[in-house]
């Protein structure tokens, strides 16, 4: 069964903006799914419709087989949302925010406290349970929204930029936690600007641009489409002029000590080093210019923009 099935989803705002131009999307049950796209592409609108925060103009949405129009309450019960912006009462204690959310799902107060304790401990917030939400750091506020979204144990968790502004250590801890709940059976849809995050966590993804899905499939399969990869080489001595290498295109960055080289799919990196050694270039270190998903994403968005123009 599909966790999410969206067909022909359109959204026209009253000011004339067309946010979604007919989105078709399928997310399998148990998947860890990335919804990527540049700012203003329609990601948050699509998520807003899925979570009943935005009224759709056309199309259909089904969550675990239940139609959003016919069974809105059943659909809401199955979804937990971690939104992009902080949207809790800043003047309420942390534990009350989570307990109240459980209450809105019909969970009795005693049971709600037990669940709140479990998720607040899991997300390292239990010590802060009596603090007012406004007193939390940015990372803690993000984790509070995750605890709140999980307290009714949804089958589908939607995270809209969950790690924005979170430091690396906490981000890694959140990744581990999200992997854990995904392994326990919760389907997860993630939007993020950190493409490394999507590449690391997600099995399938869709890229949305200008209100339409421009690519959808398994992350691995999509990445195979990449024909070139750019490496950055840190060299020992600045070069008087760029050497010509057979089969490799070379550029030098402004610092004079970093070379950019494009390696085609199937090309041997050994050959590159042989040539560099022959030309007397000593390489101290090497890294990818960008992660592969970022390269794929940018290529696709560029292609889409060119087609439009």
């Amino acid at each position: 069964m599909n966790a999410v099935e969206i067909n022909g989803l359109k959204k026209f705002y009253a000011n004339g903006v067309v946010a979604l131009k007919g989105v078709d999307l399928k997310v399998e049950q148990g998947d860890f799914f990335a919804l990527l796209g540049p700012n203003g592409a329609g990601k948050s609108t699509a998520i807003g419709i899925l979570c009943s925060l935005v009224n759709k103009s056309a199309g259909s949405v089904r969550v675990f087989g239940e139609d959003l129009d016919a069974m809105p309450m059943a659909v809401k019960r199955m979804i937990g949302l971690v939104p992009q912006e902080f949207n809790f009462n800043m003047f309420e204690p942390v534990v009350e925010i989570v307990v109240n959310q459980a209450g809105y799902y019909g969970i009795a107060r005693k049971q709600a406290y037990e669940k709140a304790e479990y998720f607040l401990r899991k997300l390292d917030l239990w010590e802060k349970r009596f603090s007012m939400a406004r007193e939390l750091s940015g990372g803690m506020k993000r984790r509070l929204m995750i605890a709140r979204a999980l307290v009714h144990e949804p089958q589908l968790l939607i995270l809209d930029e969950p790690t924005a502004g979170v430091d690396i250590e906490i981000r890694r801890a959140m990744w581990t936690f999200l992997r854990e709940i995904n392994q326990q059976g919760t389907t997860i849809i993630l939007t993020t600007h950190y493409l490394e995050e999507a590449e690391s966590l997600c099995r399938n993804m869709a890229i949305i641009d200008q209100g339409k899905i421009v690519e959808q499939g398994a992350v691995r399969t999509l990445l195979k489409q990449l024909q070139t990869e750019t490496f950055l080489l840190n060299i020992a001595q600045p070069l008087p002029s760029l050497p010509e290498l057979k089969g490799f295109s070379l550029r030098c960055q402004e610092d004079g000590r970093t070379l950019e080289v494009e390696v085609n799919k199937g090309q041997s990196i050994n050959a590159l080093f042989v040539e560099l050694t022959e030309k007397g270039v000593e390489v101290l270190s090497m890294k990818n210019k960008s992660n592969r998903l970022e390269a794929f994403f940018l290529r696709l968005i560029d292609k889409n923009a060119q087609e439009k123009s």
């Binding site: 309450m73 809401k76 939104p83 809790f88 019909g106 709140r148």
Partner: protein, 257 residues
């Protein structure tokens, strides 16, 4: 969700609303008590003694029902308009919109929060009046019933104001320019028999006039209007405001794009 789940959800929202105004009791419960002391000292004790009796009661006794009613009206309205608007402003309305809480329960939760504050303030103000007079209540159940209906009506009105409000200015315009004048002109401090005929007729178009008089009848046993017309007017406005609130919520006006 079954009925038990819905009951828990409603309870949660009402408890949240009550805790909200209870946490800031210095802003919500205390000011009406102080205002009442001032009204009764100035209008009741100082000026009232020179005015003599009104409708067979001392002036202090005459204005007490109106003062209690005024505090119920303003506090029921203020509670819902400020709470629901800040819920929108801080975007935690989304906590309710994503959860399986029917719109009627969202409305009921906020209205009951407004009713709780309105009635609590009404009780506090009534206790304050006991320092100035030996209050005898003519019909206790009727007193509670009129107070309850009035607080429901103004909670609904506050809700509609909050739905349309786009800034903090918008939640103070109606209370300042509509609610306060209508309340003061609603016969709190005088019987309309003292007014010229034109203003007596004009007063009949002020819905608050009916509530003040129904409440005065419940406490003192005197009124400028019949109870049946008072209940008809109150019931009519509750029905209209409830229908309007539900329609706004169902269409997502001011809360959904």
């Amino acid at each position: 969700m079954n009925w038990k789940n819905y009951w828990i959800a409603l309870q949660t929202l009402v408890i949240k609303e009550v805790l909200r105004f209870a946490r800031i009791w210095m802003q919500t419960i205390l000011p009406p008590a102080i205002t009442t002391v001032l009204y009764l000292l100035i209008f009741g004790e100082l000026l009232g003694q020179r005015l003599g009796n009104m409708d067979g009661y001392s002036y202090t006794d005459f204005i007490i029902p109106g003062i209690i009613m005024m505090s119920i009206i303003t506090n029921s309205y203020a509670n819902v308009v400020s709470s629901f608007y800040s819920t929108k402003f801080q975007r935690h309305i989304e906590e309710l919109l994503v959860s399986p809480l029917p719109n009627v329960l969202i409305l009921l939760g906020y209205v009951l929060g407004g009713v709780a504050r309105g009635l609590l303030v009404g009780v506090v103000v009534t206790l304050v009046t006991l320092f100035f007079t030996d209050l005898q209540i003519n019909n206790f159940p009727l007193t509670i019933f009129v107070a309850l209906l009035t607080s429901i009506l103004f909670s609904l009105a506050g809700f509609i104001n909050a739905v349309f409000a786009k800034s903090f200015d918008d939640i103070s315009i109606i209370p300042t320019f509509v609610l306060t004048p209508l309340t003061y002109l609603g016969g709190i401090f005088y019987s309309i028999t003292l007014l010229p005929e034109f203003w007596q007729t004009a007063s009949l178009f002020n819905p608050i006039f009916y509530m003040v008089n129904a409440f005065r009848y419940a406490i003192l046993g005197v009124s400028d209007v019949s109870m049946s017309s008072a209940f008809l007017i109150i019931g009519f406005f509750i029905l209209v405001l409830f229908s309007a609130s539900m329609s706004l919520l169902n269409r997502g006006v001011g809360i959904k794009s």
